[in-house]
Symmetry: C2
């Protein structure tokens, strides 16, 4: 237990201050403060010593240097029961400071508000983090409060212990304090990295805000949580049970693909983080129905993402099957009412979420793999027709659509498309011909007797003729694939021999 006699308060955000003052007064805790906080305390009618009076040093450089003074920092940092420290304080007429309440200049808020570099730099707090770090280091004796959310906890602690705090509380506050200073400087370094276009700095800092702890991770015996890298990224869930770890993982997969489709037309159905049906159609209901038709069995318990505002008719269709999550670029009121009839159905509004050219990372064995995302838009210029037979404009559109879908399917990926809808997706196979077989089997299973004018996309090149041969035998008339195999020529010959349209893309699209 440490009795608190003297507190230093320095707040950028002054909300909640009065409540604190009432309680500090109750336990006769002296207050030191400076600048705006000092004025506010006086205005609220409480006693307070100004830092400059306390230190005997004037506040200088328009407030850039206020608390950076040995009298303040020795007061915070002294080891209370150490003779030499006691002597040092006494000799210099320094006094112990037992409680530090600080929040920082709002750097995060400012970078979201402005691109004015000078203003951003001016909002880097120097004194605040120093006070907090000193107090947090010396938590054995000093209580440090860095966040508005902790005020009630502090008040409770003081009331519980008649003006003292216990070591457990101080340690917990110290842990949070270092997370605040680390977070603050992570934002600063990320800001600098961004403006200097330094995507792979020597020291990379990733700073997450807890959105929520999840019931569990990928499996019930794993703990899981979701964090946000910025305030903008949060999903707006408007109905149903809490999204699970796997729901979120699938939702992110579905959304990424969904956001790359032509606006207000696209439906994506995802199962186990892999698309099992994708369609674009101006008729919303058709868009959903065709995506579903691609593999209605896998869609069971799946995740649907529409990049359009979900209407009543589509909602009625959706309700006919069991879905875990429905994501819409907004929802018509009537549609929402229909969907909400299923109490547990998780409904997510994604209209506020944008695809940025964000970085993508994953961890393993204490390593992080970091890369830029594979979200570049496709145009015709990425493709080169290498067969004698040339594709029509419509067919080219279908090829682009198929190739775009293929990059979101786990490798090796084969995507079969007919009239703007997938009709067969083969994924996750180490051998490309196996993915071809899976895609064709799906097509035959769910799209009876309609196996003509199919276009196919492959996320990477065919190493042998066997894969493309299997596709052509199954009704595929146009194929897009990256080039690069030593057998490219053989494959072109095969296409020409069979009258197949063959298009080479510039880019490969592995996804693991």
């Amino acid at each position: 237990m440490r009795k608190i006699k003297k507190a230093l308060i320095s707040l950028s955000d002054k909300s909640g201050l009065k409540e604190i003052l009432i309680n500090l007064k109750k336990y006769k805790i002296e207050i030191i403060s400076s600048g705006g906080t000092y004025k506010e305390i006086k205005k609220l009618g409480y006693n307070c010593t100004e830092v400059s009076n306390f230190t005997g040093s004037p506040e200088i450089l328009n407030g850039r240097v206020k608390t950076l003074h040995p009298k303040i920092h020795a007061g915070i940092l002294s080891i209370r029961n150490k003779k030499s420290h006691k002597k040092d304080l006494k000799k210099n007429k320094f006094q112990e400071i037992d409680l530090v309440i600080v929040n920082f200049y709002p750097f995060e808020k400012i970078i979201n508000e402005t691109r004015n570099h000078k203003r951003i730099i001016e909002n880097i707090d120097i004194g605040g983090p120093t006070l907090v770090r000193a107090a947090a280091k010396n938590y054995k004796y000093v209580t440090v409060i860095t966040n508005l959310n902790q005020y009630n906890e502090l008040i409770h602690e003081l009331n519980e212990n008649k003006g003292s705090t216990n070591i457990k509380f101080r340690k917990k506050m110290s842990e949070i304090a270092f997370s605040e200073t680390g977070y603050y400087d992570s934002l600063i370094t990320n800001y600098f990295n961004k403006i200097s276009n330094n995507i792979f700095p020597n020291k990379k800092l990733i700073a997450g805000n807890l959105v929520e702890k999840l019931r569990y991770g990928e499996n019930p015996h794993q703990y899981g949580a979701v964090y946000s890298l910025s305030n903008k990224s949060r999903l707006n869930q408007i109905n149903g049970k809490q999204l699970s770890y796997n729901n979120l993982n699938d939702t992110f997969s579905a959304l990424t693909l969904s956001k790359t489709l032509p606006k207000n037309t696209g439906t994506v159905i995802v199962k186990h983080a892999n698309p099992c049906g994708v369609s674009i159609n101006k008729n919303k209901q058709e868009s959903f129905k065709l995506a579903l038709n691609s593999d209605p069995i896998s869609a069971f318990g799946g995740i649907v993402a529409c990049n359009f505002k979900v209407d009543k008719k589509t909602a009625v269709e959706m309700n006919k099957i069991f879905l875990e999550v429905v994501i819409g670029n907004g929802f018509e009121k009537k549609a929402l009412n229909i969907l909400k009839r299923k109490k547990n159905l998780r409904i997510v509004d994604s209209s506020n979420i944008n695809i940025d050219d964000i970085q993508n990372f994953s961890s393993n064995f204490n390593s992080i793999l970091l890369q830029t995302t594979d979200l570049k838009k496709f145009t015709k210029r990425d493709f080169k027709v290498v067969s004698k037979v040339k594709p029509t404009t419509v067919m080219m559109k279908n090829l682009i659509f198929a190739f775009n879908v293929s990059r979101f399917v786990k490798s090796n990926a084969i995507v079969l498309v007919k009239e703007n809808s997938t009709v067969g997706i083969g994924s996750g196979q180490p051998s490309r011909v196996d993915s071809c077989k899976i895609a064709v089997n799906k097509m035959k299973q769910f799209n009876n007797n309609n196996w003509q004018n199919i276009v196919a996309a492959s996320d990477a090149f065919f190493p042998f003729v066997d894969g493309i041969e299997y596709l052509v035998q199954s009704g595929v008339s146009a194929v897009v694939q990256p080039s690069g195999s030593i057998r490219d020529k053989e494959i072109i010959n095969f296409a020409n021999k069979t009258g197949t349209i063959l298009v080479f893309s510039k880019t490969r699209h592995f996804r693991h």
Copy 2:
């Protein structure tokens, strides 16, 4: 361009100091310093003002408070061309400080060396980060050096500009400075999180050290890099071309599974981040050959991880096929010589890498999904035999092996095992019965006429009888799966009707 007149130096690691002093002297730069650095400078025979003389304030609290003084910080933070700042300095007889060279108390080194909490806390630097942050904020006028690696750059910059530095250089140094302070406090908060067992703090900081930039990411049009979360995690590559992003991803997958297998027996072959062959055998060569036999076509261009010291005979076998990476728990000299005949073959020694119960994270849409890993060891106690026919000890061992492999295969996963080796792996399918078919097809393709006494593992429950029925018809005589389906009873009945051994596991093992 800013001429440097006065420098403040405060170093925990004093290597390279002499070189700096020689160059500062060349440009008649005054030096201020304190404590050990001051002594070292004097010892090396250079002029230096002690901080306490400069400020007129004694160094107190055994060095806890030295540089936290307005004279120092105003000298660093003043805006040089601002009248009021100039006036403030003049009035207080403060002087501008143009260069700050600081490195911090070695917190990272100490936490790797000791668990002595008091010693760790004492190694949290307060003054150093404050100096650095102040200088970095004011980079328009001040140069800040935080890392030994920058000394040569600084010296070059000074020589280039006759004792001045230019703004581009100062900005770059400032960017690095904030990465150092952010990194430092991230380590501190992670240390606190660890000792308080706080796995999901409100603010989560992930601090990576760049190991290397990669040629590209998953695909050639993506940028990629690999970072390390600690010094311990680095792979020791001893031959071949640089590991690519996909090599690393596959290597991590292979290693994770490999490290869970009984010591000195296991071979794992991975393609596209999925195992395509796994075997345990005391005979090393056999272990490799049997893993390869599981799917020799997919193994082409794959990644092999052995949890044993690779010997000559195994190396000879390995050289017969094209592999991207060979990972061994060490290599016999002769084995290494054989493997090195393939100049491009990437060879990795993993003997220094341990599986910790680490956290696992991935990013998407500015969100981070964070979870604990699925690395718990299996024992018999995790399993409950629910069929009338009971497994033999040998069969139970095979079931445990199969189930362990299944958790590292992308869902839905079906793993077929015969005598401690996989003989068919089905992965990445949204429908479980499809994964069964893929696994059985692999078995029939590569393991001619030997389809008896096969055991099967499923990473999650069978939702219908169809999957298990297909397996039993294909020669599977024992199945392990988590329970939880509403059709569990039907499945038990089916097992009893067909004399199949059925085991329920406590845990599910999705992996996406």
